[in-house]
Symmetry: C2
Subunit: 337 residues, 2 copies
């Protein structure tokens, strides 16, 4: 169906190699008249070379794959933006794979990318602590690397792979201190994916800072979504009326909490303070206090690491800073429950 080189060569009255030499910008000498005829033929037929066949031959990778939980979530989509920034500059095609935070789907997609001979894969997915996952993902990455690909993870301290990490613990401690300084002692935490390393670190940091002042954490496990935050906020405040501050382990959850609070006429921050993690773009508009992760930069850095010449042997690990951004949703704890 598609026009191929043979069609072009035939129309130009030359052999296929000659046409190839003209069109692929080879420096092999081709007579001027033949060259012109080939170019004309290609234009007239609107010849578009088959990149798959080309890749089969030379095989330098021109595509990047990104494994993300879901592009719904601004956390992931901002990381994708960062990847795109670098990819666009390098004329790389970016393939996005939604894993829906499912281990098997993530591995399946990774394999599919490998099958398509994707050169670089950014694993921004789960980062689960689950041993089976760690083992299987490790195996897949080794296989991918062995076949000449470059994989870089975002997070994933368990798996042995080049990665970009952030100081989740430090950021969480900062947030914890911010809250205790405001007098909060009973903090409700809306937990997203509990078995993911970043969540674990965030909880540890919060706990350290808050318990240091004699405070208590009230956990409520859910999903890293707005809806889960909405529901969870109600449950936490009903179960523990003494809570004066709510923290979501992801901004989406904190935003859901804000929504619940608004609908139930609780004033923020006078009655309840709210804070989150990641500082997605929306959080600024909602005036949400959040621990900022340089999401975009994380994506960009990951791809840059992948593109950089492979290190002799050592693992590349780049740590990017986190930063507490205080906005209007956190304030002094109310004194009366």
């Amino acid at each position: 169906m598609a026009v191929n080189l043979r069609d072009v060569a035939h129309r130009a009255g030359v052999s296929v190699p000659t046409a190839s030499r003209v069109l692929s910008g080879s420096d092999y000498p081709v007579a001027q008249d033949l060259r012109a005829r080939v170019l004309d033929a290609a234009r007239e037929l609107d010849y578009v070379p088959n990149a798959q066949a080309q890749a089969l031959l030379r095989g330098d990778p021109r595509t990047v794959g990104v494994l993300v939980g879901t592009v719904d979530d601004p956390y992931f989509s901002e990381i994708v933006n960062g990847v795109q920034d670098v990819a666009t500059a390098q004329h790389l095609l970016v393939t996005i794979c939604n894993t829906d935070r499912d281990i098997d789907r993530e591995l399946e997609y990774f394999r599919l990318l490998q099958a398509h001979r994707t050169g670089y894969v950014i694993v921004a997915g789960s980062g689960l602590v689950d041993p089976r996952y760690v083992a299987e993902m490790g195996a897949r990455i080794r296989s991918f690397t062995a076949s000449g690909g470059r994989a870089v993870a975002i997070g994933h301290p368990q798996v042995e792979v080049d990665r970009v990490v952030t100081d989740n613990t430090g950021g969480a401690e900062q947030l914890g201190r911010h809250l205790t300084a405001l007098g909060h002692r009973h903090v409700g935490v809306l937990v997203g994916v509990a078995s993911v390393s970043s969540t674990i670190e965030r909880l540890a940091g919060l706990r350290a800072a808050i318990q240091a002042k004699g405070g208590t954490l009230h956990l409520r496990h859910g999903e890293p979504t707005r809806d889960s935050g909405y529901t969870g906020a109600g449950e936490l405040l009903d179960a523990h009326p003494q809570i004066t501050a709510l923290v979501g382990t992801a901004d989406q959850m904190a935003i859901g909490a804000l929504s619940w609070l608004r609908e139930h006429d609780r004033r923020v921050p006078e009655q309840v303070s709210v804070a989150g993690f990641n500082d997605i773009a929306v959080s600024r508009d909602l005036q949400l206090t959040s621990v900022r992760l340089p999401l975009r930069q994380m994506g960009a850095t990951a791809l840059q690491i992948a593109l950089a010449p492979a290190p002799d042997d050592a693992l590349v690990q780049t740590e990017l800073p986190t930063e507490l951004v205080v906005r209007a949703t956190t304030g002094p704890a109310r004194t009366h429950p």
Copy 2:
């Protein structure tokens, strides 16, 4: 570098075709012992078939390309979500191309997707009215279709192509009537991309509704971004103090306007009402009145049209409804300037 079928066949002590028949799930008969040996060898070597070579041969398209302005913008990323929904269900790989709203880049990426023998392309990009663009995009789409691809546009009434459209004019009229009913007569409009058909329709709808009540539109041209909305809001209100309502032709601009108003202590909606278009997810949290477009459904529908068997000849055009969502940022016009 990568393991190929020859390696597997060699290790299993069989010929390449036999290995292929086992691994590609052919129904050609292969003796049980050989089959087992091939499977073992493939597992041991972690053989991942080369999808590019396979595609070269059979050529049924397994990838979808999406041309978007920028994945930054929730407008586009929600459309992408819709595409992903359908693609995931069909086990298609989705390649996202950021055109940065640049005509030439959009065409270049389209060509690149075509080169990679992408089977389906969703053009969610500009939809410019510019004649050169319309001509070149038309030519590219014809070329793509002729080579067996299926392209579907979102918007783009100018180009002859299957498309998903929305009732921008109707939605805009609804919003206009909502505002006039609240007493607004001087409406500032933050215009995003002026030369795009959806913007033109939105302005026409607003103008019709507001001029019908003797009102006036004050236009300010900018970019479809939060920052542009922020700046534009200030400029419009300074230049035309009689303005009581601001409309952004994209929610992002309205959100920027909200931000400017908050920082300059203008109460919303008591002093100034604000509304936007598209109803991106954030708008709900910001309580922004907006003309909702079923963005996710638009993306999903576009891919569904592309996947559906090609119609005999006629163009497929699916119109999806728009709906005014009234929230807290619009209220009665103040009576004193």
